[in-house]
Amino acid sequence: MKVLVAVKRVVDSGIKVRVKPDGIDLQGVKMTINPFCEIAVEEAVRLKEKKLIAEIVAITIGPKQGAESLRHALALGADKAIHVTTDARIDQAVQPLDIANILAKIVERDNYNLVLMGKQSIDDDFNQTGQMLAGLLDWPQATFASNIQISDGIAQVIREIDGGLQTVKFKLPGVITCDLRLNQPRFASVPNIMKAKSKPLETIPLEKLGKLHNSIQITKTEAPAIRKGGAIVENVDVLLQKLRNEAKLF
């Protein structure tokens, strides 16, 4: 069984972002693999360790630094990587439908049994790519996975949904998007990081696979309002007065 894991490179969630009028300032900012994508890679590696899949291919779309996230995936245990190169802003100009179309081309080219990806990226929070890809491929999908079991070509996925947990089952091939509680990704070991340098990495210019249509335009980016300090009120009367006059609740 062959698995394609799609990973996105995003601003490191551990650092403070700076907001510019045209978007988040990416200049000199630390970037790393999207946390949900990392979970997807980890899950693929665990499935391979259980001998349920034979090969893991990691793919990313982005500028040349994107290769670092692929090397990370290779260090965690992916076998090969594909780098679809573009200089467009990956947090703005590379959008779900375009990504899904490009991934669909690769899926058809290489014949995968399963596509794993993060449920959403932490920069745009779109939560669309996996679903669109499944639609384009006419494949079953399971999103927000918190548990994945595979046996005899059948995937059984427990999904985290608003009401609780939902279990779905489908015959592979299919698309699964990964949620927070699926697993805790391992640390990358230095020997594996070194070995990853010699694992195959294929580079394809984006234009060879598709086009960026920019159908979604970002018109404004602003920081949230600075949180005002709270206050302890002496009694219920003061509380009601503040709710009425300051919070304007009634």
Binding site: D12, S13, G14, I15, G28, K30, T32, I33, H72, Q184, P185, R186, F187, A188, S189, V190, P191, I193, M194
Partner: protein, 449 residues
């Protein structure tokens, strides 16, 4: 509290800067080991107020304890009896940062973290870092010559203090401020105050040479089979100018702390008989590969952080050791300097075969500075063993030419060992200087000397 005295203070700082209730946090040190009984805390907001307070106290022979973040580990920042506490926390104005010279001018009551937040806009940072960064104040750091995590790369705090404003015990304001990188104009008086633990005067302002924030940093976590392997790795990587921090830990405490991280991925399944090292490298453009090759000569068990979150988690494993041991019981904490390759020997001299109460050694092996923590379930047992352990430990340290306090200072804890450490002549010289500045002995009495 004498009402005439309280009135005098009210005239100097105003009632809003006098605290007489809920004094427990001011009277008690961070470890809950040292508890004083001060009746009053003053929170001056200007150097002039500090000067007037000390003048008054000196004239009336009132003993004082200057207090910053109260994060010290040797009981130096809390009163022993009812000394008046002078808290610097409201002296918290950062005055300026000169981008050309990288010199920061600030009042002494600013939290270390806040200094770094301020410097962020200039892409500069403070040249020292320690676990207490969210609570400790600049003045406390300076008066204790705080050590911390990055001494192995950046050196000592005192090398970065270019100027000070100090209020002497008699109230005189000594202006030693200086914004020049180089200034060879006589006896360097500020060095007396740096590390003097509040016994010679109160630091109210400082000029600090700051350092650029490195473009890149990486954190490694290594598993090694023995302490000697720790030393071998240290000897190899110490030559690399990228080395920012080199901290070692025993498997026995990491193993014990594993339950604190349920659900979180750990760098290794910690084993009690192994040794673990956290290495951080930094630079404007770091070379990870050559550094990796150096480390791989000694072990294959090395992980590297891929994100800021992972880096923070790895540091947490190291920085939570002190707090986690504090939760296990009553802790004797030691902080000594001896040649790094003798750390293991030293601990085995105190507890042969590592028997006895649960004890751990860890820390800044890159600087030859080891922390030894010993946990007792009952406070009485700690008191029973304390003197015996210290005599033995400090005697051994002294015989190896080491220091009984690498970075934590003397405070109350190690006062009685000053003669052992320094010898009669040196100690007498220190006392002469103390008498010169503080003839009435009001300044943080019964601490250090």
């Amino acid at each position: 509290m004498n009402s005439k005295i309280k009135l005098a203070f009210e005239k100097i700082v105003g009632t809003s800067n006098i605290i007489t209730n809920d004094l427990n946090p001011f009277n008690t040190d961070w470890m809950n080991k040292y508890v004083g009984s001060s009746q009053i805390v003053l929170t001056p907001q200007t150097t002039v107020q500090v000067s007037q307070i000390l003048k008054f106290c000196n004239e009336n022979l009132l003993k004082v304890v200057p207090q910053s973040g109260n994060t010290g580990l040797v009981g130096g920042s809390v009163p022993i009896n009812d000394e008046i506490i002078i808290s610097l926390k409201k002296m918290n104005k950062i005055q300026e940062f000169d981008l050309n010279s990288a010199i920061l001018t600030s009042e002494s009551g600013v939290i270390l973290d806040n200094l770094n937040n301020y410097l962020l806009q200039y892409k500069y940072q403070m040249p020292w870092d320690l676990g207490a960064r969210g609570s400790c104040l600049l003045g406390g750091n300076i008066s204790t010559n705080a050590g911390g995590l990055n001494v192995v790369k950046h050196g000592l705090l005192r090398n970065y203090i270019l100027g000070l404003e100090v209020v002497l015990p008699n109230g005189k304001i000594l202006n030693l401020l200086n914004k020049n990188r180089k200034d060879n104009t006589g006896t360097d008086l500020k060095q007396l105050f740096i590390g003097s633990e509040g016994t010679l005067g109160i630091i109210t302002k400082a000029n600090v040479l700051c350092i650029p924030i490195p473009n890149e940093k990486k954190v490694f976590f290594l598993e090694l089979k023995s302490f000697q392997d720790v030393i071998k790795v240290l000897q190899k990587v110490k030559r690399n100018e990228q080395l920012l921090a080199f901290e070692f830990m025993e498997g026995r405490i990491l193993y014990k702390n594993m339950h604190r991280h349920n659900g979180n991925q750990l760098p290794f399944q910690f084993q009690e008989d192994r040794y673990y090292v956290l290495i951080e490298i930094s630079g404007q453009s770091i070379n990870v590969d050559s550094f990796s090759m150096d480390m791989m000569e000694f072990t294959q068990e090395i992980i590297m952080n891929q994100s800021e979150k992972e880096a923070q988690f790895l540091w947490k494993l190291r920085e939570e050791i002190a707090e986690s041991m504090g939760k296990m019981g009553y802790v004797l904490k030691y902080d000594v300097s001896i040649p790094p390759d003798k750390f293991e020997w030293l601990v085995n001299q105190i507890y042969p075969k590592r028997e006895g109460p649960f004890h751990v050694y860890y820390g800044h092996v890159g600087d030859g500075n080891v922390h030894i923590n010993i946990v007792f379930e009952q406070l009485e047992d700690l008191h029973k063993e304390e003197d015996k352990i210290e005599q033995k430990l400090f005697g051994l340290v002294k015989s190896e030419g080491g220091s009984i306090s690498a970075e934590h200072g003397i405070g109350q804890h190690k006062r009685k060992y000053m003669e052992l450490q320094k010898g009669k002549d040196v100690l007498e010289c220190m006392n002469e200087i103390k008498r010169l500045f503080d003839p009435n002995g009001i300044m943080n009495p019964n601490k250090l000397l």
